[in-house]
């Protein structure tokens, strides 16, 4: 299976923050959730993949092509939505269509109008008067209306109410019905990712801590609950991170099934996307 995105050892240095050796691949036909707390490096990674920020090392390939030689071809095939509306306040949805129609070779005006209707977005109203949810939906409509093969979305659902969020997630699921299509979706709203993601990539302090399919993650990882004495006594080879609390200790473990086989008397809870994110963000690495 070909990859829509393949990032290898991507580095980006800032004076106070750096992305370190980011590597992951998004297989065609799937949705990858890109998870991390605020400031973990999600937006920086996306900007560096897109060349909006310059990488200091590593390589990025979209559809197997490098940006240097195939910039316009790649950009014609991607749709991007940022966490904030990128269109000027003084424009209307109609103006946006006129502008993008000249820029994208495959811009589809009737499709855009259909999305506007579906999302209840008034064509003639200034974007200034749109609510946050409406602006987000306009961004998504614009990103979909030039028939992209890949959507790159930076927190498209943050700050939106559950009804709008679900509406948007449905659109993504519809988009992904075509096997040539793929989505990279960064978010810290883990319930959204639970609903739609096939793959999950966790980023923490500028490093990828885990990148795997969601099913594998749920099967392989577990949370062990034990006392501090037990924690000290156990073999730590399958431990990833741990947190202590007043009752004892929570440990994120991999290879859950073999651990349970070795320690049938211990309590191992299943993980959720959220608990994995919290264990990596707030726990201590073993």
């Amino acid at each position: 299976m070909a990859d829509a995105i393949c990032v290898h050892e991507l580095c980006k240095k800032y004076p106070d923050f750096s992305l370190q050796n980011i590597s992951f691949c998004l297989p065609k036909g799937s949705i990858m959730g890109f998870i991390g707390e605020n400031g973990a490096g999600k937006t920086t990674t996306i900007k560096t993949i897109l060349g909006i920020a310059k990488k200091t090392g590593g390589s990025v390939k979209l559809f197997g092509l490098g940006f240097e030689e195939h910039e316009k071809e790649i950009k014609n095939r991607i749709g991007v939505v940022f966490d904030e509306c990128s269109f000027h306040d003084t424009l209307t949805a109609c103006d946006v269509a006129k502008i993008l129609g000249k820029i994208y070779s495959a811009w589809d005006d009737p499709l855009f109008v259909r999305y506007l209707k579906q999302f209840d977005l008034p064509e003639k109203k200034k974007i200034k008067e749109y609510s946050r949810g409406m602006k987000m939906k306009l961004g998504i409509a614009a990103a979909l209306s030039h028939h992209p093969d890949l959507l790159i979305l930076d927190e498209p659902t943050s700050g939106l109410d559950p009804v709008v969020r679900e509406e948007i997630l449905d659109i993504f699921l519809e988009f992904i019905q075509d096997e040539e299509h793929s989505i990279l979706l960064s978010s810290h709203i883990t319930s959204d990712l639970d609903k739609i993601a096939d793959y999950l990539t966790f980023i923490h302090e500028g490093k990828i801590v885990l990148s795997t399919s969601k099913d594998e993650l749920l099967e392989d990882l577990g949370i062990l609950k034990c006392s501090l004495e037990e924690f000290d006594a156990l073999d730590k080879k399958s431990f990833l991170t741990y947190r202590t609390n007043q009752f004892g200790c929570e440990v994120l473990i991999k290879d859950k099934l073999s651990f349970i086989a070795r320690h049938p008397d211990m309590i191992v809870d299943p993980v959720s996307t959220e608990s994995v994110m919290l264990m990596y963000a707030r726990g201590t690495a073993v």
């Binding site: 909006i52 424009l91 006129k98």
Partner: protein, 210 residues
């Protein structure tokens, strides 16, 4: 699809954004025109038009900054060079329009009040000064961002004004005989500065991150 289409998309975006500002400037132009042209002070109106021509593209840059447009534009099938080029082409367009309007004013005022009319060449002079101003301003905007460059805009305008007055004080007397040559030199220098400015801006913009 050819390159001109991408550029026209970017320019259309700017023109649509500048609609409200253009209306305001047009009203200002009418008011000043009604006051100054009958007084025979046509030069002031020329200056005003050229300042508008320089001001509009700069305003579009700061509007882009405010909307965080650039990072989005860079995800579209346009290169960084295309984005800068669209701004420079738009500047040429605005100066073209200003020169045409100035020409019409000159023709009308020459017809109605031949005794106070100024030579057509003065339009070229004022246009060249405006273009020179724009040439200096663009790289500053790309280097420092519209927020900081806003103050530089006014400082720069004052500096050019002072230089002009100084120049008139020193060489004003030799102006009468050699006017045409001076105007042509100014025009050539301005056009050269504008072309150089484009290449500097492209380099600055290539390095920019959003």
């Amino acid at each position: 699809m050819n390159a001109s289409s991408w550029i026209s998309g970017l320019m259309l975006k700017d023109l649509l954004n500048l609609r409200p500002m253009t209306k305001t400037l047009f009203v200002m132009f009418l008011i000043f025109g009604v006051i100054f042209i009958p007084m025979g002070n046509v030069m002031t109106v020329y200056f005003l038009l050229m300042i508008f021509a320089a001001l509009l593209p700069m305003t579009s840059l700061s509007m882009d900054d405010m909307a965080k447009w650039d990072r989005y534009a860079l995800t579209m099938p346009v290169t960084r060079k295309d984005i800068v080029r669209s701004k420079y082409l738009m500047t040429i367009m605005f100066f073209g329009v200003s020169i045409v309007i100035s020409g019409i004013i000159a023709a009308v005022s020459y017809y109605l009040m031949p005794e106070t009319a100024t030579p057509f060449w003065f339009i070229v002079l004022v246009g060249a000064l405006g273009l020179f101003y724009g040439s200096l301003l663009f790289p500053l905007l790309y280097k420092f961002g519209s927020e900081k460059a806003r103050y530089m805009m006014f400082v720069l305008m004052a500096v050019i004004g002072i230089l002009l007055v100084g120049w008139f004080a020193l060489f004003g007397e030799s102006l009468n005989g050699n006017l045409l040559i001076y105007i042509l030199i100014t025009a050539v220098v301005s056009i050269a500065a504008f072309i150089a400015s484009y290449f500097v801006s492209v380099r600055l913009y290539e390095k920019k991150e959003f």
